[in-house]
Assembly symmetry: C2
Homo-oligomer: 243 residues x 2
DNA sequence: CCCGCTCGGTGTTCTAGAACACCTCGGCCC
DNA sequence: GGGCCGAGGTGTTCTAGAACACCGAGCGGG
């Protein structure tokens, strides 16, 4: 191990080099793993070992069934800005409204169960809301809550009460922390339809896990914002606001 | 993947449970990987996958050629305390002295090259010193420095000048940070001999990497302290001291 | 138009070894 | 006493598949 470099390490370094040189840009899909194994002249397991290293360094993202992608550079973006933007639009007199699309219990899929740290297929409350500005959809928000919380929450009027408020005042759960990441996606059929966009249109997707006191994950939000309706700018300055 | 839990995950969770329940205590050596594979009825690769998860969570430590051990709980221990203890003994009039055992260039082994971030088998200066209290060996310190630094350093009188001072005043390298871990070990032949102990006697081993301005690793220290000569206590309060 | 199913593509898990690399200890030789 | 070597034990890398699980797009039926 001292003088000999394992193959998987060499492969990882070569791919790393390609990514960091810009040869493979963010979002680019790598050849499939079997192809990579052939190209590098090794077995699939050896390629997977290399990819594991790169994924651990957040250089790539492997998506089961889809492929392996160069990870987007991390955007340190505070979605509070979105809420503040909405607050600002309101202050400017632009009509901003929220439409509750649905509220139902579902079985948590892999993403939801990981985010909320609940079992696979555990029951979760899914709430879908559309945020409209001047009657036009600005964002689609899909929120998931663990079932025990959700069962208390459906008793609240979610069309009229912001979720965070409902959590705090109806259930006594205070959100004290959130973790969020934003990526560029193409809108799927469901999202495109609700947002009035073409399927495949570019959009921001924000994923946020909100934690209550004690570190417990209580809400997993996915927000889709069409790319032509929102721009991330660094010049905006805001002070306190609310959801 | 939703309903089905991979075997490696089950194995990891079972071992995790055993470790966290105290069944497997810190420092305990797990059965060898081939034995674990047999016991769990899987192949070695599957066990290794499980162990990888645990190692990533710092629950275990795999040592090539030696075995797999339950990781010791992290001891946040400031070796400055050792230096301060020596300073305190001096203040109490106990004779404390340092004896330079050797100073020579060696090829960096795996541990040294990793610590100093130099190539495998690169040249490094190895300095061995014995710290004596009242004529009795208290600790054995083996320090490694990259050769370019070491070549400047051997011109200094290391028997009379503390290493850190020599670095700062003779070479202009200021240590600004160090990373350290302490583990319980059994003394090997060389260390036991120098410290006047039986081979295999229990001892503390402190490993420390010291960084200069700019984040460069400049010294890798390994200090062996026989268990019967030093006790880590929380009641000791010290203020500034020197090496 | 919407929903469900199927298919092709891709990632994931696992088996079963084999060979290599590392480590320690004891013994022997200089 | 120190250094080197060999043996036994243990971790690491890698091969070569096979089977399973996931995903999205397209098509067909209601």
């Amino acid at each position: 191990m001292n003088g000999r470099v394992p193959r998987y390490h060499r492969i990882a370094e070569e791919l790393r080099e390609r990514i960091q040189s810009g040869d493979l840009g963010p979002g680019v899909r790598l050849p499939n793993q079997r192809r990579l194994a052939r190209d590098f002249g090794v077995t699939l397991m050896t390629v997977r070992h290399a990819l594991e290293l790169l994924e651990r360094d957040n250089l790539i993202r492997r998506q089961h069934g889809l492929g392996t992608f160069v990870a987007a550079p991390s955007i340190d973006y505070d979605i509070l800005q979105l809420r503040r933007l909405v607050g600002e639009l309101r202050a400017q007199g632009e009509p901003v409204s929220t439409r509750l699309l649905s509220s139902r219990f579902v079985a948590a899929d892999r993403r939801v169960s990981a985010a909320l740290e609940i079992g696979p297929r555990a029951r979760a409350l899914q709430i879908e809301r559309l945020r409209l500005v001047d009657g036009r959809p600005m964002s689609l928000q899909r929120s998931f809550l663990p079932a025990p919380i959700g069962e208390e929450l459906v008793k609240a009027d979610l069309a009229a009460t912001p979720l965070r408020q409902a959590l705090e005042f109806k259930i006594g759960l205070v959100i004290v922390r959130a973790r969020e990441s934003v990526s560029a996606v193409r809108l799927g059929r469901r999202e495109a339809r609700e947002l009035g966009c073409a399927v495949g249109a570019p959009a921001f997707e924000s994923e946020r896990v909100s934690f209550a006191v004690g570190g417990r994950a209580v809400v997993f939000d996915r927000v889709f914002i069409p790319g032509d309706r929102f721009r991330i700018t660094r010049q905006l300055h805001f002070e306190g606001a609310s959801a």
